[in-house]
Symmetry: none
Subunit: 207 residues, 4 copies
Amino acid sequence: MAPKIIDREARRKEILMAAMKVSAAKGIKNVKIDEIAEAAGVGKGTIYEYFSSKEEIFGASIVEFLQHMEKIMAQKMFRAVTPQDKIRAMLHSWEEACKNEDNDLVALMIDVWAEGIRRDNKELLKIFNMKKVYERYREMVSAILKEGINQGVFRQIDVITVAGLLLATFDGIMIQWLLDSENTDLKKTADVLYETLMLGIIAKTDN
Amino acid sequence: MAPKIIDREARRKEILMAAMKVSAAKGIKNVKIDEIAEAAGVGKGTIYEYFSSKEEIFGASIVEFLQHMEKIMAQKMFRAVTPQDKIRAMLHSWEEACKNEDNDLVALMIDVWAEGIRRDNKELLKIFNMKKVYERYREMVSAILKEGINQGVFRQIDVITVAGLLLATFDGIMIQWLLDSENTDLKKTADVLYETLMLGIIAKTDN
Amino acid sequence: MAPKIIDREARRKEILMAAMKVSAAKGIKNVKIDEIAEAAGVGKGTIYEYFSSKEEIFGASIVEFLQHMEKIMAQKMFRAVTPQDKIRAMLHSWEEACKNEDNDLVALMIDVWAEGIRRDNKELLKIFNMKKVYERYREMVSAILKEGINQGVFRQIDVITVAGLLLATFDGIMIQWLLDSENTDLKKTADVLYETLMLGIIAKTDN
Amino acid sequence: MAPKIIDREARRKEILMAAMKVSAAKGIKNVKIDEIAEAAGVGKGTIYEYFSSKEEIFGASIVEFLQHMEKIMAQKMFRAVTPQDKIRAMLHSWEEACKNEDNDLVALMIDVWAEGIRRDNKELLKIFNMKKVYERYREMVSAILKEGINQGVFRQIDVITVAGLLLATFDGIMIQWLLDSENTDLKKTADVLYETLMLGIIAKTDN
DNA sequence: CATGAATGAGTCTTCATTCAT
DNA sequence: GATGAATGAAGACTCATTCAT
């Protein structure tokens, strides 16, 4: 009896969030299980009731983070109608993701990349594939660009390549901002990027 | 005496190079002193004759890496005359840096960022400051853009911001390429970036 | 009230049996409380309602096992009349104990010895004393031998020593059988042992 | 330079001996690496310079022990000429092995059996096979018995089975002695066993 | 100077035991 | 009474660093 209404899923998430918080602050490789436990407000052993190893927490953090980012982006672009507006929405969602209170979560991204690059992280590959993630992102942005081309607002560009470039810029700025948020004006950067990009891809509507 | 000093310096460099090689392949945090020693062809204890700690090797690797990158870039841009050519040269040097035989050195960049972001790496801060590094890079690119504006080829853009964006794009593409070199065509990317950027920043020369 | 007590006793026995089953299969030291609980079909906490510690389960298992063995032996020898028949009966009961369905229970014996040997297992000594167990066994066998001597069928042997030897042989064969049942023919072994032993202890009935 | 004349093999043996000593006293499963290190007079980490895991130490201990036993037995039987003398020599060597100063090494045997029985100890099987060990021993004893039969001193017995029985008796007595050395007179036991066995297997030389 | 054997602080992980429900 | 979630003490193992040769 006593079904013990403890929502395992919820508890797991709690621990995951705590893990992400400390991982972001110190770097995944530098976090101790003890620290995660303390941050989550549970005993060390409890961690292992929900995750089988440190590595698994790590993988789950990344998945969680990526899903989180995707959700944010999807929400922002929901209302936008024209391709230009959609791109603007993207810029804003990314700008906010950086500034967000969960801000240091973004630092996790670096660790995600670092691990993703090392080919021998089998454990990580079991859970997800960084390549696929980027492919999905590129596809998402490409769709917008294609729409713009079809509508005649954008010129005949290689959509996949431009999409890659746009995402790359996001990532790169994110890094600069993490390294030196004081000298990186996200708002201005977003505006300049939008302006320059538009000039670069807009269809010539001369005379 | 002098030769002795040179010997020491040479040996130190050898170890450093070996350290960078293995670090790039496995990720800085995952490299053991033993591995560095083996890669350098020296005994484990010898490492400590030239570096006081692992952390110091780590810091020295980063400095070495950044200087290496800067040198490459400087060489490429040396011959270029017009601002456009200089930007093209930059694109090429960056493209080559990626494809280079030292290719996995680029993977180090990720680790460099990761460490740079963590505020608590006092040891690293003693040696250099990631902020400064980016400031220098931005300054370098800004100078080219300013030149173009002065010459009337580029429109009145916020040079620092555009410089940041350009560097960001480089970094971002580098990541994509590291994660998935098969689906990232550096040549095409460089071309599209140049074309789009030029359209985005060129001065309107309409009558 | 009475039924309640019986219930408790029954449940305790159930857990004990489950514990013995898994202990036999994996070795006492390698069994986890979780496994016992699962095998017994109860919750982990429930175990502690019936036993105060793992060590106690362990001790109780041994006692249970030894009583079980003694019961089997007693049953077999009940009908035998002559000393020779009694010895034969012993051989058979031991042979069956090995082959029995509870077969892997026999593996427990090894663990029983292992623990019995370590002088520092205070907990175990509280419950019973391995020395006493063997003394009882030897006494039991001695009685049969003495009977044979009194009847003039066995020669004047040192009954205690021969009893010890006989028990030793049982134990030793058990080990061989556990280690390599394919190459150990229990039936033949029992027969050869009986034959040789009889020749060895029988009274000379030369003409 | 400085070839560092540290005999790795010798050091390994030292650690092994220390490991066997403490293992015998407390039971293999109950020994901590720290204890082995302390007993060997080295640091914890040093253990891992010579053995890759606790399990490996365990396996090596067993191998060492078996070789030790075999050597003792071989030495004793070297001088014996007649089959009877050889059996007597065997009895003595076994008697001595028990009484030996390395006495508690014998306790290890129990752990060896316990592990040998559990089929899933892959690590152990890599190093050696308990079955083979017993086969070798049986073969050794069988040879003596066969010799006796050929010479007409022993009757037509099933040599393999008798050999197994003899070894079994050794093992069994060893256990009794370990459990209760005070009440187990090895000398008397050896004598009685020899006498009884001889009567049991000797060829009838009646006129 | 160069070396690599030795070291032990630091970590992950396990599991017997507790206790709130 | 029964349960299983939570716990933390305990223990195997790693690896940067030291130091005798």
